[in-house]
């Protein structure tokens, strides 16, 4: 997993492959829970449900979430999960 963090912008540059990758990424999200707005650029397909759950938790705490998606299958998946009314999701 290759993740870059610049302030409130998180770039996921390669797939989230393992359970440990998910744990690491959730820790990153937890460190950002005081940000008013998080922008996440997802350049791979994979976005496991545990991470979606953490994003929803942050959103419930008042953090606005913007997801910029680079993969069409992932974009369709997030739409099917009815997340477009929770997060600002944009297909890049």
């Amino acid at each position: 997993m290759n993740v870059e963090i610049e302030g409130n912008v998180i770039n996921i540059n390669s797939p989230i492959v393992t359970l440990s990758d998910v744990d690491k990424f959730i820790q990153i999200l937890k460190s950002k829970e005081n940000e008013p707005h998080l922008i996440i650029n997802i350049k791979s397909f994979s976005l496991p449900s545990s991470i979606i759950g953490e994003l929803l938790r942050l959103n419930d705490k008042g953090v606005a979430i913007s997801l910029n998606i680079y993969d069409n299958t992932l974009y369709e998946l997030l739409k099917a999960l009815q997340l477009t009314n929770k997060f600002k999701i944009r297909m890049v």
């Binding site: 797939p15 496991p48 953490e54």
Partner: protein, 513 residues
């Protein structure tokens, strides 16, 4: 009327207040400074009218309006001005004042203005009340919908919704058209190789049809439960009892359609009371009974060989519009090439428009052949699961990203419920979960096999843990913000099936052309 006036001339305020009082207004609040005015309107958004002077000491009426609009969206806003320039009047109306009042007004001018505001406010208040009650109604409807869906799922207990055994794959689909459904489905494993399927459609709409349908279903459910308990299940007796019971709950002109099917090894027994035909890979089995009414008819129960594929449904999918005909025509055309129910639903959504409740089941023989392209066995702990997921991701196999995400979801569940023994995920924080110790048992393992044929990729997962609670997984699927894992798998695949005790899963993905 509740009126607020802002003017930096105390003499004017006194005069204007007296005038308004004499015209019968008893709630008049006057302000010579804008900060006190703001403080007041912030906490009094029920003000009917505000009078704002254009020329103020520190600012002007236009600036005041900007902030006033934040707190008073529906109040009538009047600018008072001694300046008669048309530009000021035009701008005042453009930026949101409702009218302007020259300072040389007469008592009759004010009376006319107050009368106008009174009439307008009456309409606005009525509209606001209606909007509010509509909002409440929507909220109530949403709440009721949630409860009703939960209740429907609880009553129906659709055991074969995504189920497989050694010989067959079972999958069901249920989509009500409205909040109250007249269609219900009940599926149940009776014994090994013996399954009951009941699809009920109470004719008509609304609460009456829904009550009839659920009542009939509850009869089936309870009768079968007791029969299994006493080990005396008898399909023929069940059909007759059901028929007799339904007659006791029908109104004079009411009718109920139902298909009651028993699958016993390779034989299918069926009594179809007015529902659409049962489609099989080899034949069309037309209804063999009239719909159930108060008056009695003879009951026919027939049997046939269980074909490769069987599709049983209420009339919702059959009778919805398709071009100039009905979707039944299309269904007959596509059925020979169908492997999974999702293919029918996708085609239906693309080519038709749901006009009634939809309730259906597809039973197919579990005999698709696959060439194995990947196989592995994992002794279950986090380190091994991570190694497996890494190994899988770099494999050169079709749809590897989707397969990887699906197995990631399954193995996350296996790890959390089976190895960390987390009973209720929602009640555990991430840090608590992180601190939990793995159950060290080298005998816990999972087997994963991936196969491929011309059309499909097949993932087979088995483990030797206590098994997923399949009912809980299915329940989560119907909740808006829960069950994300199963929703992901369902979205990415065309077929998802569990064995009876939740220790084996079969998933089918479509190979893209």
């Amino acid at each position: 009327m509740k009126i607020a006036v802002l003017d930096d001339s105390k003499t004017f305020l006194k005069y204007f207040k007296n005038l308004l009082s004499n015209l019968g207004n008893n709630q008049i609040y006057t302000f010579a400074h804008e900060h006190k005015f703001y403080e007041f309107i912030k906490n009094n958004n029920d003000i009917d009218a505000v009078f704002i002077d254009y020329h103020l000491q520190n600012t002007d009426g236009f600036e005041i309006l900007k902030n006033t609009k934040k707190y008073l969206q529906d109040s009538y806003k009047i600018i008072i001005t001694s300046d008669s320039s048309p530009q000021i009047k035009e701008k005042a109306l453009k930026i949101g004042f409702d009218t302007f009042l020259p300072k040389n007004f007469s008592s009759a001018d004010i009376q006319a203005l107050i009368n106008l505001v009174k009439t307008l406010r009456k309409f606005i208040k009525k509209e606001i009340e209606e909007k509010e009650s509509f909002k409440q109604l929507l909220k109530y409807k949403e709440y009721q919908e949630k409860i009703i869906h939960q209740k429907q799922n609880k009553i129906m207990k659709n055991e074969l919704e995504m189920y497989f055994d050694e010989k067959h794959l079972f999958e069901t689909y249920f989509k009500p058209k409205d909040l109250l459904t007249g269609d219900t489905i009940y599926t149940k494993k009776i014994t090994k190789d013996s399954y009951f399927i009941g699809i009920i459609d109470a004719m008509g709409k609304g609460l009456g049809a829904s009550l009839t349908s659920f009542n009939a279903l509850a009869f089936l459910k309870h009768s079968i439960k007791k029969a299994i308990e006493y080990n005396d299940f008898n399909y023929r007796k069940l059909v007759y009892d059901f028929y007799n019971y339904v007659q006791t709950i029908l109104l004079e002109n009411e009718i109920l359609c139902a298909t009651l099917v028993l699958i016993e090894e390779d034989t299918m027994h069926y009594a179809n009371f007015g529902n659409p035909p049962i489609l099989t890979s080899d034949k069309i089995l037309y209804t063999n009974n009239f719909p159930i009414r108060i008056s009695s008819e003879q009951i026919n129960i027939d049997k046939t060989n269980l074909d490769e594929k069987v599709f049983i449904a209420s009339d919702g999918i059959f009778e919805s519009k398709y071009k100039k005909s009905i979707y039944y025509k299309r269904l007959k055309e596509i059925f020979p090439s169908i492997s999974f129910l999702k293919e029918i639903i996708e085609d239906f959504e693309k080519n038709s428009l749901q006009s009634d409740d939809i309730c259906c089941i597809l039973i197919s023989k579990n005999n698709l052949h696959f060439q194995t392209i990947f196989e592995d066995e994992i002794y279950l702990n986090k380190k091994n699961i991570d190694l497996f997921l890494k190994k899988l991701y770099i494999k050169n196999i079709p749809l590897v990203e989707q397969i990887h995400l699906i197995l990631h979801e399954i193995l996350t569940n296996t790890y959390e419920y089976g190895i960390l023994n987390i009973k209720n995920k929602e009640k555990l924080t991430f840090n608590e979960k992180f601190k939990k110790k793995e159950i060290i048992n080298h005998k816990f393992f999972a087997k994963i096999k991936i196969g491929i044929n011309e059309n499909w990729v097949n993932i087979e997962y088995t483990d030797n843990l206590k098994g997923f609670d399949v009912q809980k997984i299915k329940d989560a699927y119907y909740k808006k913000y829960h069950g994300k894992g199963i929703k992901i798998i369902k979205h990415l695949s065309y077929g998802l099936f569990f064995n009876e005790n939740g220790t084996a899963i079969k998933i089918f993905l479509k190979v893209k052309s």
